[in-house]
């Protein structure tokens, strides 16, 4: 037994709170017996660490990124009567296309143009990962959760709301005309979706009577989407707006303002800023599956133990992400003022309705 005496942590501490997977339990037991590897395995399988590193954390995030970029292109291509990325790995329908693009970006020159604010221009695309990754700690998958707190939901929403601030900063550091227009649009869009988004979340807090996401998932014997479909709709549309996907791809609008805030980025820096929207999309999809689709709830597969919740959650998240990708090939981009009008009139009205439903359900004590 390795002893971290100072912290008072022992390996047993991790093992007590470990993800249980009956299927490979003998293997885990065997690995735990080996001195250093055992400790590493224990830490990785320690529930909070598992949440951070494996699911819904980094490993899944990376896989999902590579997958969803490919999948989006493939689905769009399918609807558009063509094949999409293919020849890079023909037998697997070119599934590693995003990897090739990423590698190419990685080895491309990073240009910082003369007028840019050099330190911020290079810092922000990296700093932006803080608000992008932090919410992953609060999202529960069955009993795997990074940090369990009764304020998990408000904290998550608050951190996610920080992302546009960073994008505005990126646009400011770029010091370009199109970046400027793009950031202004981003800021406007932020005001457009934030209120309906928060109202939708509030209505769900009212429905469940708690802001603790673990409890919310536990309480969902009936999925939230059936209890409050209007809140689900508002949440979905706000997600589309927040991740600037069509038809609300307004801040990035490549045909109008050439990717707006990201116009001057090149090489791996563009690779980083381009994935922000997808990462945000992943987090909001996780949130949506927690709030409305019952999170990790689902028929338990005994052999997989805790992993069955992971699989259910993953499937639900992917369904949401696929639905978001599908919109790309259906809609045209609408104008900023139209988007603002939609959110401040129709969206606001129905989100208030969603809150009303939440209040009613709360008073009726349905859940």
């Amino acid at each position: 037994m390795v002893d971290l005496g100072l912290l008072g942590l022992t390996m047993q501490h991790f093992i007590d709170n470990m993800v249980s997977i009956p299927l490979i339990q003998p293997l885990i037991d065997y690995l735990l017996g080996i001195p250093v590897i055992g400790f590493v395995v224990a830490i990785i399988l320690w529930r909070p660490m598992f949440a951070l590193l494996i699911f819904p954390g980094l490993a899944t995030l990376m896989t999902v990124l590579l997958f969803i970029i490919w999948f989006e292109r493939k689905l769009t291509a399918r609807i558009q009567w063509r094949r999409g990325p293919l020849e890079v790995l023909r037998w697997a329908e070119g599934i590693i296309q995003a990897l090739a693009d990423g590698l190419r970006y990685f080895f491309q020159e990073v240009i910082v143009h003369r007028d840019a604010h050099r330190p911020y221009f290079l810092q922000f695309p990296i700093l932006i990962f803080i608000p992008v990754l932090l919410p992953l700690l609060f999202i529960p998958v069955g009993n795997i959760v990074g940090i369990r707190t009764p304020y998990a939901l408000p904290i998550t929403v608050a951190i996610v709301s920080l992302i546009p601030v960073f994008i505005v900063a990126i646009g400011w550091a770029s010091n370009s005309r199109f970046a400027y227009i793009g950031t202004v649009r981003e800021a406007f869009m932020y005001f457009a979706y934030e209120i309906p988004f928060i109202l939708a979340v509030v209505s769900m807090i009212l429905v469940y009577g708690t802001a603790d996401m673990v409890t919310i998932v536990e309480k969902q014997s009936i999925p939230g989407i059936i209890l409050n479909p209007i809140a689900a709709l508002v949440f979905f549309i706000s997600t589309v707006m927040a991740t600037s996907r069509l038809p609300f791809e307004i801040p990035e609008a490549d045909q109008e303002i050439a990717f707006g805030p990201f116009v001057e980025y090149s090489g791996i820096m563009f690779g980083l800023v381009m994935t922000i929207a997808y990462e945000k999309m992943y987090i909001l999809s996780l949130l949506m599956s927690v709030l409305f689709l019952g999170g990790g709830n689902g028929p338990t597969i005994p052999l997989l133990g805790d992993l069955s919740a992971v699989i259910w959650m993953f499937i639900k998240t992917m369904v949401v992400m696929v639905a978001l990708s599908f919109l790309r090939s259906i809609y045209a981009r609408i104008r900023l003022d139209q988007a603002l009008r939609i959110s401040w009139t129709a969206m606001l009205q129905i989100s208030l309705l969603a809150v009303a439903i939440g209040v009613v359900l709360n008073l009726a004590n349905v859940v």
Partner: protein
């Protein structure tokens, strides 16, 4: 071997660099001329260039391939250069279409530049426009180049010996050019023609009455075509009268007559509002001296003449007095020689014979 390919093939990451770049050749959205039609076909459903990992993408900073789509004009050459400079290394250039190689159809035009003089080019595609297949072939060839480090032409020829065929004992005299250009051409834009057109004859009568004393002659040159010859000083008055019936300008034209030391300036006007006048095109023209080419602008009567007049100033140097934009380049690049459409601006002549006549 270009430095881009050298960069990709160096260092311990070379296989990753090469593989990543090979499957991710993103052409920038730089449409330069009409070959863009076939480029669009190559990347649309019919051929789908995205299969090869090549995705048509927005702007220079985020891409690594320029597909020069045909003609590069003097004006565009700067843009091409700037775009190339904006692009992060490693980057590649493919030129498609005859216009982009040596000018193609426009090989002796005054506004054409060879892209290979402006940026380093990796591959050239013949055709006007090249088929989408050949564009995708260039992507394939570029992928091969990235992997092997060497560019390969994808066609090879077998040579045959021609000397066995019976020929002449000595070389024949090569024929002269098939073009015949009259040294002192006589230009007349109102050649009368006898046509069966009652309405026109009536219209000519009306014009004769309305424009009494202002015109030199009114002729029917073809069905639906009437030419009114006038002096420069009367043009404004004629336009004032005609603009009540004819509401738009179809054409502003200048004809250069160096041997007569004059320009003919034509305004062809027609009507959209009057159904009967719709097919009628009335040509009002006047001669002006070549050494002081000034003409009253008719923009006040016909705003639709604005850009046409500016174009004519660009090409011929006829100053349309009253058009506010005179004296500025519109279509032409700043470094193009002045007034290229004047007849004394000669173009390079065709060569029909790659031959040194053996005596």
């Amino acid at each position: 071997m270009s430095e881009n390919v050298e960069f990709l093939g160096s260092g311990i990451f070379a296989p990753f660099k090469k593989w990543g770049t090979k499957w991710s050749l993103w052409p920038v959205h730089l449409v330069t001329a009409c070959c863009g039609v076939e480029l669009a076909h190559a990347y649309a459903s019919g051929y789908d260039g995205e299969r090869l990992g090549s995705l048509n993408y927005g702007i220079a900073r985020q891409t690594n391939l320029i597909i020069v789509e045909g003609a590069i004009s003097r004006k565009m050459a700067r843009v091409l250069k700037i775009t190339y400079e904006q692009m992060p290394d490693p980057k590649f250039v493919v030129v498609m279409g005859a216009c982009g190689l040596k000018g193609g159809l426009f090989w002796n035009g005054y506004h054409m530049v060879r892209p290979s003089d402006v940026v380093p080019v990796d591959f050239f595609i013949p055709g006007c426009p090249p088929t989408p297949e050949s564009l995708l072939r260039s992507i394939r060839a570029l992928q091969e180049k990235i992997m092997s480090g060497k560019a390969e032409t994808t066609i090879s020829f077998d040579k045959v010996d021609l000397s066995e065929i019976e020929g002449r004992s000595s070389a024949a005299r090569p024929p002269t050019t098939p073009k015949f250009i009259a040294p002192t051409p006589s230009i007349k834009v109102d050649v009368p023609k006898d046509v069966d057109w009652e309405f026109g004859k009536k219209l000519v009568k009306e014009f004769e009455k309305d424009l009494n004393g202002l015109y030199n002659s009114i002729t029917i040159t073809a069905k639906n075509r009437i030419a009114i010859s006038a002096e420069k000083k009367n043009i404004m008055a004629i336009a004032n009268i005609l603009s009540k019936r004819f509401d738009h300008v179809k054409n502003v034209n200048v004809i250069d007559l160096p041997h007569e030391n004059s320009f003919i300036v034509e305004y062809q006007v027609s009507s959209y509002s009057d159904k009967k006048l719709m097919p009628v095109v009335v040509n009002i023209y006047a001669r002006i001296p070549r050494d002081n080419p000034r003409f009253p602008s008719l923009v006040t009567f016909w705003p639709s003449a604005d850009y046409l007049e500016r174009e004519m100033y660009d090409l011929f140097g006829v100053w349309f007095e009253g058009n506010p934009a005179m004296g500025e380049r519109f279509l032409l690049a700043p470094d193009t020689p002045d007034f290229p459409l004047r007849k004394d601006r000669k173009l390079k002549e065709e060569e029909y014979c790659f031959c040194e006549v053996r005596e």
